[in-house]
């Protein structure tokens, strides 16, 4: 049964903006993105919303709903009371381009700073062979849809924009962990050291493991427990554990 939902939507650009109130028809089973589309179709044709798949798989429609980072296509209106005001704002960590659309280029810059997967010399694509148990840790991180909600909620850059230079955020630290744990990654053999780079160039030490990235991940990746903490432990192996370093074999 339909009802008039009360939406409060951020309207503005990189210079200024404000929250504006709207009443929009809501039908049973609809999600926040449906209402934004209806608002766009009926009252605000200039409302800027980024979206694509409407299935929680493209990561385009990230925003903040009642202050919580979410995919608007996966946020059911039935979560809220019919008379509750539902506030939709753009991701706070990134500069606004217009309305709910942010400039997320920070993430692409950071992505380029992670050295690519380095297969063993002489092994061509199609010749990779590995056991499932060896690669399944890295596979969990491949579920990432790059919605950047983890980056948005991470207080290291959300509340301290000055840290953006030194900190790559959970998404790209997870990418380092994915490659570091990959059984066929030969980066270390070529003189690289992903854990040390995660500490130095990607600012792993700034992460204080408060788990907000894990809490908001729509793919339920255990970013903190399975990527960030194991990476911190590998840094500890190399840098803060003289005893283990003494016993360490070159490659396990």
């Amino acid at each position: 049964m339909g009802y008039q939902a009360r939406l409060r939507v951020w309207r503005g650009d990189s210079e200024s903006g404000e929250l504006r109130d709207y009443e929009v028809e809501a039908e049973e089973g609809e999600v926040v993105l449906d209402l934004l589309h209806r608002l766009q179709a009926t009252r605000c044709p200039d409302l800027a919303v980024r979206w694509n798949c409407k299935a929680g798989k493209c990561g385009s429609c990230s925003a903040e709903v009642n202050g919580r980072p979410r995919l608007t296509c996966m946020t059911r209106m039935s979560l809220f009371d019919p008379d509750e005001v539902v506030t939709v704002t753009p991701m706070r960590t990134f500069p606004v381009i217009k309305d709910l659309v942010c400039d997320v280029s920070y993430n692409y810059v950071k992505a380029r700073e992670v050295p690519a997967f380095t297969p063993p010399e002489g092994l061509e694509p199609g010749e990779y062979r590995m056991q499932q148990r060896d690669v399944e840790r890295s596979q969990e991180f491949r579920k990432c849809i790059e919605c950047f909600l983890c980056q948005d909620t991470c207080h290291v850059i959300r509340d301290h924009a000055e840290n953006k230079e030194a900190f790559s955020g959970p998404r790209f630290l997870m990418r380092v962990a994915e490659l570091e744990m990959h059984p066929l990654d030969d980066y270390a053999e070529r003189g690289g050291d992903r854990p040390e780079e995660s500490r130095g160039e990607h600012g792993l030490g700034m992460c204080n493991i408060t788990k907000c990235c894990t809490d908001v991940c729509p793919e339920h990746i255990r970013i903190t427990d399975n990527a960030l903490i194991p990476l911190k432990e590998r840094v500890a192996d190399r840098r803060y554990d003289p005893i283990l370093r003494f016993f360490r074999r070159k490659k396990e």
Binding site: E165, G205, M206, E252
Partner: protein, 264 residues
């Protein structure tokens, strides 16, 4: 190439969250504060930690390594002298136990949120003007967690020994009292918490990239990973159980009530 650092044009309220986001950090702050206050009071109370008839030693005073320990309470000798009345026996052991909890990845999250508001909750602005996380002194010392893990293994082993000793009758022989059962529950929870630690998970197998070459370590890593998923629950359960068993032993040792004996 450097990342753009422009902040969003949207400067809004501290948070737009409408739920009671302050409730979990408040609960954590109250829970941890209660434990710390109890621990301090109990440590400096410095009595009623050994129930000789039942062979119960309070976990806060185990191992009792000081010459100040009451007769019978020192199962492992007394290598430390009796320095002063205000230096009770737990002073020699508690720093290691507390260090393990203080550097634990779960507790770090808990107290960073509850006491330091960094952040108080997800998507709630923190009050600090600067932030360097665990990249500088003193928080860089959190990387010593694995060393505290090693000492926590020793302490858990000692508490296991204390629990075995508690299976004695009041008049000798085999016996089980309510306190014995509580000590068993406590030691099981302590082992589960200690072994579910992230450092343990890493050292036992997480640092390996080729699990298929190390099937035994892979199996152990799988078990520890299962426990690790419950690390938060185990952290709280073991914290409460330590305090409760300590309180129970204190009450029995003080003669507040007799220990119900199931087998004597």
């Amino acid at each position: 190439m450097s990342a753009p650092t422009t902040t969003s044009g949207q400067r809004r309220a501290r948070t737009l969250r409408t739920d009671r986001w302050w409730l979990p950090p408040l609960g954590t702050a109250l829970g941890l504060s209660a434990f710390v206050i109890y621990g301090l009071v109990r440590t400096f109370m410095n009595q009623w930690y050994w129930a000789p008839d039942q062979h119960y030693l309070a976990p806060f005073f185990s191992p009792c390594l000081s010459e100040a320990c009451v007769p019978g309470a020192s199962h492992l000798g007394t290598p430390f002298p009796d320095l002063a009345p205000w230096v009770p026996p737990p002073v020699f052991v508690l720093p290691f136990v507390l260090g393990f909890r203080l550097t634990c990845y779960y507790y770090r999250k808990a107290y960073y949120r509850a006491f330091w508001a960094a952040p108080p909750a997800c998507a709630v602005t923190e009050p600090h003007r600067r932030y360097t996380g665990e990249s500088r002194f003193p928080l860089i010392l959190q990387n010593s967690h694995r060393y505290f893990f090693y000492t926590a293994l020793l302490v858990a082993a000692v508490l296991t020994y204390d629990t075995v000793l508690a299976f004695q009758g009041v008049n000798g022989g085999f016996g089980i009292g309510l306190g014995t059962l509580l000590m068993v529950v406590n030691v099981v929870l302590l082992w589960a918490y200690t072994l579910s630690c992230h450092s343990c998970r890493h050292l036992i197998g997480g640092r390996i990239n080729h699990f298929s070459k190390h099937p035994v370590r892979y199996r152990m890593w799988t078990w520890v990973s299962g426990l690790n998923g419950r690390h938060m629950s185990l952290a709280w359960a073991s914290l409460v159980s330590v305090a409760l068993v300590d309180l129970y032993v204190m009450l029995v040792a003080a003669g507040a009530f007799p220990d119900p004996r199931l087998i004597n």
